[in-house]
């Protein structure tokens, strides 16, 4: 690792060979990174590159499995935790906000800074917070005595940022900002970026995670690219162009070639959802019979919301911008929260999607249920001793097979898949995609939202989302990773 090229001073913090595992998944595989004092370092990467794991380790909310965390020559890795990171001057602005909604801005500040106490703490903190807000965001007027749950998202984000930069007891040494500008609004975002040099004058280093490439190029000194839990490149921002940035994150690997030509497309439109679009982007999401349509882009940019809107419309909610033709089923990749019924067997988890269709006078036939469950267990090759096995005894991949079987068993015309392969091993994934292609060939319409670029090769067309809008529509023939990345970062070709 090279030292800081500009300042020449020793790095504030140096990570060496950081490894972090979650079960079988290696989220970080030996990351080494030196963060120079008083500069802004950008961290870039696509979904699942390991950015947020790295950030959580820096903030002390995760402890690395291996590796060293060196500050002023001392290794803190063994006893690394949130309070220690705080004591060393590290502050973190998380993407999912970590403010208590029932407390006001001043009170939330006190939650982070234990030093605040004594008579008049509220007044003093409010003054300090106001001053810091003023320094960062200029004249923005915020109600600091109103529970933050009642404030706008932008206001909450400002408060959280100001809370991190607060000079208590001294200006922070390192502030990590995870996509701070996406919820701020243009003016406040610009103000924050202009503030960064001022923070550097106080000795504060900043790690800046953003998907807006222009911001990164104009405001950051160094750029670090991550992919698959590793740092792939580290450059001076001055040397880079937007194309160069995209290359930093992607590999030169060509997109996998599309497989066999599929049965000829039919014309019946099954799904249509009107959405706002970026210049040059499509104005609606359309899916036809026997088609697999991909929804792509960075996680959380409106893909899941669109699927949920479609599902709500299918459940009878009034949605003027949605048109649906046919029955709908939904499969989520967030198994514990949105898919699995943890106390049930494989069989009950599988048939629950169609009990309303196989009932007779409200009753269910055990024999019929068993038959259906056995049939689908066979068709999707669910690896379970029997359909009476508890669902939680299965591996994640096999649980997901059960959930997909649940949806398919209900014989929907339209299948909505919300990142369905999350945490599923490669072999299972291949099997499942074969099933999905098969089902599409039989006329089903499949909408697939995925955070994995490789999965998009299975799609006939792919819509790319950016901040809730449609950025691009890529037909299968024109699909490549570069075009996808450009659209994901709203950098039109």
């Amino acid at each position: 690792m090279t030292g800081d090229p500009g300042g020449g001073s020793a790095p504030f913090i140096r990570l060496e060979g950081i490894v972090k595992r979650f079960g079988a998944i290696e989220a970080l595989r030996g990351v080494s990174l030196a963060i120079p004092p008083a500069t802004t370092l950008a961290l870039l990467g696509h979904n699942g590159a390991g950015k947020s794991t790295l950030m959580n380790i820096l903030a002390g909310t995760l402890r690395p499995d291996r590796g060293a965390i060196l500050i002023a020559g001392e290794d803190h890795a063994a006893h690394w935790q949130a309070r220690r990171a705080y004591g060393l001057g590290i502050r973190c602005v998380f993407q999912e906000l970590s403010l208590c909604p029932n407390l006001d801005a001043v009170e939330n500040t006190r939650i982070l800074h234990r030093e605040i106490s004594g008579r008049g703490w509220r007044r003093r903190t409010e003054a300090l917070l106001e001053e810091t807000l003023g320094r960062i965001f200029g004249g923005a007027k915020l109600d600091l005595r109103h529970p933050v749950g009642g404030l706008s998202l932008a206001a909450r984000q400002m408060i959280e940022i100001a809370r991190a930069f607060l000079p208590i007891p001294a200006p922070p040494r390192l502030v990590i900002l995870d996509e701070p500008t996406s919820s701020l609004g243009a003016q406040a975002a610009e103000a924050l970026l202009r503030f960064l040099p001022e923070a550097h004058r106080d000795g504060t280093a900043v790690i800046f995670i953003s998907h807006r490439l222009r911001e990164v190029l104009t405001h950051c000194r160094r750029v670090v690219g991550m992919r698959d839990g590793e740092i792939t490149a580290e450059r001076d921002a001055a040397e880079l162009t937007p194309e160069g940035l995209v290359e930093l994150m992607g590999s030169a690997r060509a997109a996998a070639t599309s497989d066999e030509a599929r049965a000829k497309e039919r014309d019946r439109v099954r799904v249509s959802l009107r959405l706002p679009s970026l210049p040059g982007g499509p104005s609606a999401l359309i899916a036809r019979e026997a088609e697999i349509v991909g929804l792509a882009g960075l996680d959380g940019h409106g893909q899941r919301a669109s699927l949920l809107r479609l599902f709500a419309a299918a459940q009878g909610a009034r949605m003027p911008d949605v048109r649906l033709d046919g029955r709908v089923a939904y499969v989520s990749g967030d198994r514990p929260r949105e898919g699995v019924f943890p106390l049930w067997t494989v069989g009950h988890n599988l048939t629950v999607g169609l009990i309303r269709r196989i009932q007779r006078w409200g009753w269910l036939s055990a024999a019929q249920e068993r038959e259906i469950a056995e049939d689908w267990r066979g068709r999707l090759q669910v690896r379970a001793p029997s359909i009476a096995t508890p669902i939680l005894a299965l591996s994640g991949g096999n649980q997901q097979k059960v959930l997909i079987a649940r949806a398919l068993a209900a014989e929907p015309d339209i299948l909505l898949l919300d990142d369905p392969m999350r945490g599923v091993d490669i072999g299972t994934k291949r099997e499942l995609f074969a099933v999905l292609r098969d089902e599409a060939a039989r006329g089903r319409t499949i909408l697939l939202y995925t955070t994995e670029t490789e999965e998009l090769v299975h799609c006939d067309r792919t819509y790319v989302f950016f901040e809730g809008r449609l950025a691009d529509e890529i037909p299968r023939a024109a699909f490549n990773e570069e075009r996808l990345l450009r659209a994901s970062f709203a950098h039109a070709a």
Binding site: T61, Q81, A82, R83, Y86, F94, E96, S98, L99, C100, P101, N102, L103, E107, N108, R110, I111, L112, I116, S117, W121, R122, P147, G149, G150, L153, A154, S182, S183, G300, H301, G302, R304, A305, L308, R309, F465, E467, G468
Partner: protein, 324 residues
Amino acid sequence: MPPDASRPRLSAPFRLSPLAARPLLAALALLLMFAVIVWREPRAASYLGLRLLLNFSIPLMFAAFAAMAVIVLGDIDLGLGPFIGLANVISARWLAGNPSLAALLLVLSLLAYAAMGALIAARRLPSIVITLGASFIWLGAGLLILPTPGGAAPDWLAALLRLHTPFVPLPLWLAVALALAGQILFITSPAGVVLRGFGGAPEALIRAGWSLIAAKSFLYGLAGAFGILAGLALTGINTTGDANFGTPYTLLAIAAVIVGGGEFAGGIVSPPGTVIGALILLLSGALLSFLDVSTDWQLSVQGGILILVLALRALLRKRDAHAA
């Protein structure tokens, strides 16, 4: 910000127009009730009248504070009433004759309450069943100590509760003191901020390095302390002990917190509001008798007050959601 519904959205209660207005509304309702009582019976406004009217508010206010200490965490205590009964019988049986034994037992029961909080936090157990299980133990222990009503209050305790305070009777002084102390402990002090934070977003607090076990032990301990005070007050007023005396307080105390502006989840409580809520529930009975309505309907009025308060809140919430 993309309009992505999968992100955690702020839950509706927090949108409610100023939460601070809730205790004020409750105070207005209380004044109105009192005005009606005085209109029907002017003597109720006299020192003696007030004292009679508010005699039983002392245990209820303490009980409501005990319930509040747990509700601020988003937990529920179903064992509070029997626990108050236990404190009542311990003090009625021994406080006069063997004060050190009584003190020892009371301190032990307080520690048991704190330990219950630690257990709930450490094993992430549902508070409702643990406090339910404990409620049988409190009631049983109470019955073991005094199988039938009896015992006596030490003279000093009875005298304390009959204390002739200047200007207004003791319950009102106590109400003010409790409201102030509670406001400082839960709302204005830095420590109170942390306690309420645990009710609002425990993971944010843990992320900032605070201990959930410590917070729950402290608040359950506090609930135990207020429960004991309520039990002592009952002893002083009734000058006798009965393990079943406390039972109604479980639900009444929760109701007082809610009427006073508290929420079941989200770390929202108001100590002054809780005091006012307790007084409202207490006066509902007197109000009926002064209006020549049978006190049989007191429970209906209490239930009706609860429904009215929460239905109004729901309405405001809906209006707010439309406005937003």
